[in-house]
């Protein structure tokens, strides 16, 4: 290995210890990154459930968070790669624009809410309202998801290797949902749909992007909108 390259990569890793450093310093440093810089590797230690860790990233940085985080970690991420080596509190990767967020543990409620792009991978379980109002984000959950997930999902994909809770996809628009296990109940206007070859191909790509192997797209069922609630119709009043 070229020694000079090795030194450069070591220097580039910046470590923020949240036990001794205010959160604002971490987020300010992330926001101060100019396009094209090499200073793109960050490590966060002792997050101890802190809120708003690594929010508002707008450059292709890599952030390794060593421990569990609180509310809104990696919110509004636009191009960064954030890995939480622990669990995440409510609203992880909320309104993500692009990039990748990986949660090695579990995620609390409304993971990936309103996300417009990027990939959120949750290796454990996600709680209620996962992907609520999703608008283009791709979410892959290796465990189970809670109730009211993908509520009013507009676009993007939610892939669940485990089971889904009550009222999956309630008032769904055009987000596509793939569940490998049981769905406790479907929400209003969400129905099971045929898995066509193009969906199998799409799902295979999503699984590959999430780094999941040994799981076949054929094991999933597809759910989507029945499109009967798009416009108000008095005959559907009971369904709202």
């Amino acid at each position: 290995m070229d020694v000079s390259v090795k030194r450069e990569s070591l220097e580039a890793m910046r470590v923020f210890d949240l036990a001794t450093t205010p959160l604002r310093e971490l987020n300010s440093a992330l926001h101060a990154i100019a396009p094209g810089t090499n200073d793109t590797n960050f490590e966060v230690v002792n997050p101890r459930g802190s809120h708003a860790v690594a929010v508002g990233i707008d450059q292709p940085v890599t952030v390794e968070v060593r421990g569990s985080v609180g509310y809104y970690c990696a919110g509004m991420n636009d191009g960064g790669t954030v890995t939480v080596h622990g669990s995440a509190g409510p609203g992880v990767a909320e309104n993500m624009m692009s990039g990748t967020v990986v949660i090695e543990g579990d995620a609390s409620q409304y993971a990936g809410a309103t996300g417009r792009g990027g990939l959120l991978v949750i290796k454990g379980n996600a709680a209620s309202r996962c992907g609520i109002s999703m608008k283009g984000i791709d979410i892959v959950v290796q465990g189970n998801i809670g109730h009211m997930s993908a509520f009013m999902g507009q676009s993007g994909h939610l892939v669940v290797l485990g089971n889904a809770g009550d009222a999956l996809g309630d008032s769904l628009y055009e987000a596509k949902l793939f569940v490998r296990g049981e769905v406790k109940s479907l929400g209003a206007d969400c129905i099971q749909k045929e898995m066509k070859p193009k969906h199998l191909k799409l799902l295979a790509e999503l699984l590959e992007r999430a780094g999941i192997t040994g799981v076949s797209p054929e094991e999933f069922k597809r759910y989507g909108s029945a499109r009967t609630l798009y416009n108000f119709n008095i005959d559907n009043a009971d369904a709202y």
Partner: protein, 301 residues
């Protein structure tokens, strides 16, 4: 918002530290509610003795000579003063007579809670000030619950602070808001329950007390609460030997639990749990919606 915490010890060697551990957990939750704070600590009951925790807005006047004033009801009565609160200890069989005399002698004094083992301290102010005012860190115990309040449903007063206690050794802390508390209060009043405030949480506490008075255990009472209470709630409840948690079916109020061989802990957020011993290897999970969790020292023994 509001922040709630709870700690139920399995390892008796931690009992001397219960007050300190619970205080740290609550202080960490301060930014979830600045209005008032309270803690209930369950100590080891001593045979044949009962405790009544009382509070006064004017402790100088109300607590002066209190022990002597209560002696006619029970010669063994002992009063320990702690700032605006006092703990009255009496023979269990004379506790009611002591309470009756207390109402007569010092009508301004409010009862915060009573029973064989519980002591309840709550005041307006921040958790750090409330726990230091009452010396909570020095208290030993088997289990306890705490609350820091962001008021929504009723006035910011000592009586509006949590925990609410409506039965012997029973108390409850709540994050959320109930929507059918007025109706339920009327029904409970008809059944003979009395209320100190217009607060929604007091209704939930009284509801559970009434259900347990009908013979239900804490787990069964919490299960009926899911049918009869409407609104948002994460409850943490203590009884003499038990500890329970329940969330409403929508479950938008946060909750995290952790269990090790030494304890079961509850926090509104994971931040509240990070200083507990062995937390890095604890089983940490989010309690499921509409699911009752409860543990009992007596049933476990």
């Amino acid at each position: 918002m509001c922040g709630i915490v709870g700690l139920f010890l399995k390892d008796r060697s931690l009992e001397p530290q219960l007050g300190a551990m619970l205080s740290d957990m609550l202080v960490t939750m301060t930014d979830r509610g600045p209005d008032s704070a309270g803690i209930a600590i369950y100590g080891t009951p001593s045979d044949g003795r009962a405790k009544i925790t009382v509070q006064s807005a004017d402790p100088k006047q109300d607590f002066a000579g209190l022990e002597a004033a209560l002696k006619p009801a029970d010669s063994s009565v002992a009063v320990e003063l702690k700032s605006t609160h006092a703990v009255i200890e009496a023979s269990a069989d004379k506790a009611q007579a002591v309470r009756d005399l207390l109402v007569q002698e010092r009508p301004e004094i409010r009862v915060m809670g009573s029973g064989d083992s519980v002591e309840i301290y709550k005041e307006v102010g921040l958790p750090k000030d409330v726990v230091s005012r009452f010396g909570i860190r020095q208290m030993a115990g088997t289990h306890g619950i705490g609350h820091t309040r962001m008021a929504t449903e009723s006035a910011v007063t000592t009586l509006g602070a949590h925990p609410f206690s409506t039965g012997a050794d029973q108390c409850l802390v709540h994050n959320g808001s109930l929507s059918n508390h007025n109706n339920l209060r009327r029904e409970l009043v008809r059944e003979g329950m009395t209320f100190e405030t217009q607060n929604d949480t007091e209704v939930a506490a009284a509801y559970l007390s009434a259900e347990m008075a009908k013979g239900k255990d804490l787990g069964q009472a919490l299960t009926s609460a899911l049918d009869d209470l409407d609104g948002f709630f994460t409850f943490v409840v203590g009884t003499k030997s038990g500890f329970g948690v329940v969330r409403d079916p929508i479950a938008c109020k946060p909750a995290v639990m952790a269990e090790t061989d030494q304890y079961i802990a509850f926090g509104s957020e994971y931040r509240a749990l990070v200083n507990l011993p062995g937390i890095e290897n604890a089983r940490v999970w989010e309690p499921e919606p509409a699911t009752v969790y409860f543990w009992d020292h007596e049933k476990a023994a």
